[in-house]
Symmetry: C2
Subunit: 418 residues, 2 copies
């Protein structure tokens, strides 16, 4: 009961703050962002101290090295958060932009104007930088934010949130604009996602289980960043040297992220020439290859790709490979097993490339480029709050504009409906 | 079990059709829409015959005259559906439109291109014209549609859906693009809303109970058309003659629709001059007035507005009236009791009007005009599939563009991520 009341109190406070934040000017928001950056700098030692508590506990509990690394803060990582806030200051304020304007035959002037969503609930796991990055993006887009981080980073997140919330308030933003849920009890999520009267959108940043749990328990709209089962299709008309560079980059440059390639499809007409060289390069880089029957005929001795390999997001140096008989087979495979994230074709055939871009139902579709470019900064949106793999509201990288809604402001001089 | 399988079969068929529909050209879609219009004309007698069965049953079961009227079809109403489809033909095809284009420093060209959502589920009550109107809008925007109408109109809806689905298929659209759920068992809705792997969005068109039921039982994004508790605020600097015309229109011209005014707020500085004349005109038109204490001091003998009057959507010739001391009181009242649909200020004070447009958190905010204009056609969007009172994805009147998503089509020449 106490937990529930605490969550309601925080959500209601965020809503009140959101009503004020919606009409706060760019200068005031930027001033607050810079104050938040300065406060992180000033409180660095305290933040690192609290982080040590989390890191020690994580090691003790046997968390994997990779997860301990994600959790660990140092001067450089706090510096990145500070830099991130400063970059958000430089981004154009999306609020108040007139998206379209029309004057109707009856003289009514109708402006479609960008406004904030209101209160954004961020439910995230692990990396403490999410606390700062998402709060900064929400404030710049005029939204209040409720943060609920994972238990393993509780002390770090709490200290970061307290630091930036106090700085934002002292710099003149409404009280309560940044809320942090201090308990990591899963019940806190249950209570939070019930509050559709206060919270306008929930953005889960975490694994599939978290997303599934939230979607099943809330009426609030959810924008989720699902998995990235990304493909590259090497067409019969591909420049094979280019294909090699693109496929190598898409798998190896940073395998642990959502826009890395997980399955490579190769047209049978070039497989014999392309696969052995490509495989050698992958194996030199430590990539484990798993192929279908036709691939195994060419690449002897690699593992067999099983049905479940086609739909899995490895996030590791593992690659599934399939030789396809036709362009259509590639398209069908991607639309069947992919996650509508990012998929690429390598070909010199313009018509086929354009067909691919139309037929593949994914957020980002590439012709002759690495899938690794699906990212807010690479798209020119500035920082991103996530990459949406759904079609409603926002798709692909989400920047400031994707954290907004709009309203119609209508100017009349006495018009009545006939 | 049989019901469940039937629903799954229909949803899967719609998804398959949607994949094809996404890349069908404008001419083919328009040809199908015209074929649907012609088929309605040709099958008019059969449709009217089936409708009679529904109307007779409705009368027998004691449905109110208003509801029987909503259900009843005649030559004119079928003519309106036919005309509606022809108007959709004239609307610009939203699919394929390039919403923005950018070339990045690395040479990647990124086009943001409008695409369909996929499969739209429409769950509606009463009026059979929804069957035809929504199917037409969905097809034109490249979406497949699953229709589930109310039990009282089952025979009419089924006949309409069969007619247009057959015509669309014969005209060359993919099989299964228009699906109709033949059972009106509520269990059918339960099964339908589980199918997030096939259905991309649910649009409920009906009362609050229906919306609530759906939102509580689905993971699929829902775009809902909530109630319209619309306000007009008559400011101290209003042109009172203009205010009278606007307030009369907003309440009386068509009281049964969502953009009609339900509460009138009047600044105390003009209440004494404005209210008696306005009240006389309302009472002559048969409007029942309910006032707060200050209103009752001026308009003796009218009913008292109770707390619940401020949040109710009368959809009838009833009006709640409140005298406010300040502009701020009006803003606070509207944001507290309103439904974020449509609200207006009447004033000659430009600064105050602009403050109102910013501070009121509603889909449509008006300066010196009737709230009755919130409508797709009046906004120049063409036909509408509903008016969203939420902030995610679409807000206010929803036309073809609001039934769409987008994708990023990216053109490279070998770019890899550094």
């Amino acid at each position: 009961m106490e937990l529930k009341e605490e969550i309601i109190r925080r959500a209601a406070a965020a809503k009140m703050a959101a009503n004020k934040l919606a009409n706060i000017g760019t200068d005031a928001k930027n001033k607050a962002l810079l104050a938040m950056a300065a406060a992180l700098e000033k409180n660095k030692d305290d933040i690192l101290f609290k982080n040590e508590i989390d890191v020690d506990a994580a090691k003790e509990s046997g968390l994997s090295d990779a997860l301990v690394d994600r959790l660990t803060l140092d001067d450089k990582r706090i510096g990145s958060m500070i830099q991130g806030l400063k970059e958000i200051v430089e981004l154009k304020d999306p609020i108040g932009e007139i998206l379209s304007t029309t004057t109707r035959p009856n003289g009514l002037k109708i402006n479609k104007v960008r406004v904030p969503l209101g209160v954004v609930g961020i439910i995230y796991e692990s990396r403490p930088n999410v606390t700062v990055d998402t709060a900064g993006l929400c404030l710049k887009s005029g939204n209040a934010v409720i943060l609920r981080g994972g238990s393993e980073a509780l002390n770090s997140n709490h200290m970061l949130a307290r630091t930036i919330a106090a700085a934002a308030y002292e710099a003149g933003l409404p009280e309560g604009a940044i809320q942090f849920v201090e308990t990591t009890d899963r019940q806190a999520i249950m209570e939070l996602v019930k509050l559709d009267r206060f919270i306008d959108v929930i953005i889960p940043r975490g694994g599939e289980d978290l997303i599934k749990f939230i979607r099943e328990h809330t009426k609030i709209p959810v924008i989720f960043h699902g998995k990235g089962v990304c493909h590259t299709y090497v067409d019969i008309d591909a420049d094979l040297k280019m294909a090699e560079e693109i496929c190598f980059n898409a798998k190896v440059q940073r395998p642990g992220v959502c826009n890395a390639m997980e399955t490579m499809l190769v047209h049978k007409g070039v497989a014999l020439e392309f696969l052995p060289k490509m495989a050698a390069r992958y194996q030199q880089a430590g990539v484990e290859l798993r192929g279908d029957a036709k691939t195994l005929e060419i690449l002897k001795g690699i593992k067999t790709a099983r049905e479940e390999d086609w739909a899995v997001e490895y996030l590791a140096l593992i690659l599934a490979i399939k030789v396809v008989d036709t362009f259509e087979e590639a398209v069908t495979h991607i639309n069947k097993y992919g996650s509508q994230h990012s998929d690429a074709i390598v070909t010199n055939n313009k018509q086929r490339a354009e067909e691919f871009l139309k037929l593949i139902d994914s957020a980002a579709v590439y012709w002759n480029a690495s899938t690794r470019f699906t990212d807010g900064a690479e798209f020119g949106l500035g920082a991103e709050i996530g990459i949406s793999t759904q079609k409603m509201h926002a798709r692909g990288p989400m920047g400031l504009a994707e954290l907004c809604s709009y309203k119609y402001e209508i100017y009349g001089n006495g018009q009545v409906r006939k």
